[in-house]
């Protein structure tokens, strides 16, 4: 290695930060970060960044007392639901503190969308929350329709509601499986994937894609229903309750499952509201907030459904909430099929949409909570600003509140009960 002259070397950004912080600390009359005698103590310790803590939170989590140790769970860990790093401070097996470290799956989707035309934005948002792709497309579609001032035809609205409810069924179904998998149950996840596969086949019959459906358009949907879709839908509808109940029988009354989820990770309604948690996690804490009811969009004010809540707020309540919502979704699907009108599925919109300057906000109820889009138009063919609120990102905030005092084994079980999808968190 070439030797660097310490006098002429350009300091790296972190070192510059450190110098700047020391300067500010000197102004405030505090001692410098580095101890006067030598280097910062963390330099020699494994698992601690080789720089002084930059924030109060960093100082707190990296301060290790006697008998404690830091474990990095992830990004390469079997059950972190994608690529997330949990910095866990443990005392023996008991979790003292936990710090989720995000960003390992960041793809800059918001920026990509700002450089895409309004039509192509709907393809970019697909891989965000990859278990609720239809919902990802629904919110921007509504926002852009508000911006452009176009309303989709009635039949398109019904087809949209149908596909998003189908998507919700498989997303909640997978959560049941993942929760069991993170406790060591091998089978429920495979049953859940069998259910998912049926729905995905169904949706691929209408959209042509199996995972990133790219089905929504500004002012409508891509395709009308076809014979294959409808016949598969009938088959699926006649089997779905049986399949869900088969999986439920393995989990719901299982003694071990109950012992590991009841009173585990209890989130009170007040805490959930102040953290901004939405969706099934919030309703499992007893707060009856559902975007479909509170701020009806699409055709939800024409349909009849219940906003179900659970009193518990623990992992088991969150699991029961998912099952109840699957049943509600199937109830909604029945109504949608009954009421679906005839007509076109796409409003007249030009190939390249140039909305008038303005701003629009659209919120929908995704399987993980309130998923919303805020779009600003400057009159050009692409959005000036495109901002997405992903509910799993907000749900993860609850983790440092739920986990301290629990065991290492519970971290994964509690995290699975919050049902985050890293694709959506990191965007």
């Amino acid at each position: 290695m070439t030797k660097i002259d310490p006098e002429t070397r350009i300091p790296d950004p972190i070192e510059l930060d450190r110098i700047e912080e020391d300067r500010l600390r000197a102004v405030a009359g505090l001692a410098p970060m580095r101890s006067p005698g030598g280097e910062y103590a963390g330099f020699d310790q494994v698992g601690i960044p080789d720089r002084p803590p930059q924030t109060e939170r960093e100082r707190e989590i990296y301060a290790i007392e006697e008998g404690e140790m830091l474990i990095n769970m992830g990004p390469q860990h079997p059950s972190t639901h994608g690529v997330m790093r949990l910095l866990v401070k443990v005392r023996g097996e008991i979790v003292v503190d936990i710090d989720p470290v995000l960003g390992y799956l960041h793809r800059g989707i918001e920026k990509l969308c700002e450089n895409a035309t309004y039509t192509t934005v709907l393809t970019y948002v697909d891989p965000m929350d990859y278990l609720s792709t239809m919902h990802n497309e629904h919110a921007p579609a509504i926002a852009f329709e508000k911006l452009y001032g176009v309303r989709p035809p009635k039949r398109a609205e019904y087809i949209r509601a149908l596909v998003v409810e189908l998507n919700r069924v498989f997303s909640h179904g997978l959560m049941m499986g993942f929760l069991a998998l993170d406790m060591g149950g091998l089978t429920p996840i495979l049953y859940a994937f069998i259910n998912r596969d049926e729905i995905v086949d169904l949706l691929s019959a209408i959209s042509g894609q199996r995972m990133l459906f790219n089905f929504f358009r500004v002012g409508g949907v891509n395709f009308d229903t076809n014979d294959e879709f409808l016949s598969r839908l009938g088959t699926w509808r006649s089997n779905v309750m049986k399949n869900i109940e088969m999986n439920e029988r393995m989990i719901t009354d299982n003694e071990i499952f109950r012992a590991r989820t009841i009173d585990m990770g209890t989130l009170s309604g007040q805490d959930a509201i102040s953290l901004g948690v939405t969706g099934p996690n919030l309703r499992a804490s007893g707060v009856p907030f559902d975007v479909r009811r509170a701020h009806p969009y699409s055709i939800y004010n024409e349909l009849e459904f219940d906003v179900i809540t659970q009193p518990g707020g623990d992992s088991y309540a969150r699991y029961l909430q998912r099952i109840a919502e699957i049943k509600q979704s199937i109830h909604l699907i029945d109504q949608i099929i009954d009421k679906m009108p005839h007509g076109p599925v796409q409003a007249q919109v030009p190939g390249i949409i140039r909305p008038k300057p303005g701003r629009a906000y659209a919120a929908i109820e995704s399987p993980r909570g309130l998923y919303s889009v805020y779009a600003i138009s400057d009159g050009g063919p692409n959005p000036y600003r495109f901002r997405m609120r992903d509910p799993s990102f907000i749900s993860l905030q609850a983790m440092p509140k739920l986990m301290p005092g629990r065991l290492v084994a519970d971290t994964m079980a509690i995290m699975a009960s919050l049902d985050p999808v890293m694709g959506g968190v990191d965007k």
Binding site: M69, G184, G185, L186, T187, M250, I256, V408, A409
Partner: protein
């Protein structure tokens, strides 16, 4: 040289070689069962490429493990790291010495066979603890400590649960225990509580679901085995599956009559044919319990580490003591 001594050495070499050789197909069969049965329960096909219906899949896995690179982490304690798989494997293989496969087919028919068995099988915890410590990995360390806590705790109800059977039969030798069962009926009838405690504790002792705390893959990646690769990893897995076989075999010998055939069949035959006949029933019954263990793995989630320990000390241990108390009184009162 003394002819008897020579005969003894020859017999010892033959028995140990045969038992060590037996571990290989046993592990392969159980791994294959695990892959295929869990696949069927999950509504999957499972392995179906190598051999008819994929029956050579686990053999290929064995060879693959042999061919893989054997890595040692930089900071690991090299000597103990290398020794740990050995200790675990030898504990399992050595305890096979006293298993009564068939009349006349016991490698060492010790008069304290039961004591020997639990003493030797308990050694594997040392290997797991050493593996966890030597790997220089936090997951390994947690797994190793869990294994120490779990296996040491469960050895107590495990051992106590069979004291009732020992008191009834009045012997510590496996072959005499089976002879007693031939006369009085299987111990299953005499010791149902003991059987229940033994079964639960034996699952915990060999780290099977729902008690597979040691290598809890969704929490600790692979527990003490995280840093192992190649054949060292293979030895751990061989040991685990062999231990499952041994535990099922001991369960069968203690409570289900060992090599004795069930009711409509003649319980025992003489001569070499009788040995084969006994071995058939022994392996059949043993593999039924192996199947049940695999079945449990496909069905149940894992209990948490504190619930596991609580069950050993708060439920199983008192229950085992009560069982022993009742058995002892019954033996005295009814002069069994």
């Amino acid at each position: 040289m003394d002819f008897d001594l020579l005969l003894g050495v020859g017999r010892f070499l033959l028995a140990t070689t045969l038992l060590l050789l037996l571990t290989v197909p046993t592990a392969f069969i159980i791994i294959q069962m695990e892959m295929k049965i869990i696949a069927q329960m999950n509504l999957r096909f499972g392995p179906n490429r190598i051999g008819p219906r994929g029956i050579f899949q686990s053999t290929i896995h064995g060879f693959k493990v042999l061919a893989k690179e054997d890595t040692v982490p930089d900071q690991a304690d090299r000597s103990t790291f290398t020794l740990a798989p050995w200790m675990v494997y030898m504990a399992a293989a050595m305890s096979m010495l006293v298993i009564p496969f068939a009349p006349g087919a016991i490698a060492a028919d010790l008069n304290i066979g039961i004591v020997y068995f639990f003493a030797v099988l308990g050694l594997s915890v040392v290997g797991l603890l050493v593996a966890g410590w030597a790997s220089y990995n936090k997951y390994s360390l947690l797994g190793g400590l869990r294994s120490a806590a779990q296996m040491v705790s469960y050895e107590i109800p495990l051992t106590l649960s069979i004291v009732g059977a020992v008191v009834l039969a009045g012997t510590l030798s496996f072959s005499e225990l089976i002879a007693w069962q031939l006369e009085h009926g299987w111990l299953l009838v005499w010791q149902p509580i003991g059987l229940g405690i033994f079964y639960v504790s034996s699952l915990a002792e060999v780290n099977r679901t729902p008690f597979d705390m040691v290598e809890a893959d969704s929490e600790l990646v692979a527990g003490p085995f995280t840093e192992y690769s190649g054949m060292r990893f293979g030895f751990f897995f061989f040991a685990e599956y062999v231990a499952l076989f041994i535990m099922s075999g001991i369960l069968v010998s203690l409570f289900f009559g060992g090599w004795l055939a069930p009711w409509p069949f003649p319980a025992q035959l003489g001569g070499f044919g009788g040995t084969l006949y006994g071995a058939f029933w022994f392996f059949l019954k043993t593999y039924i319990f192996v199947f049940i263990a695999v079945w449990l793995r496909a069905t149940l989630p894992r209990v948490r580490v504190d619930q596991l320990m609580g069950m050993a000390w708060k439920v199983l241990l008192p229950l085992a003591l009560v069982n022993l108390f009742i058995t002892a009184i019954a033996v005295v009162v009814f002069d069994l």
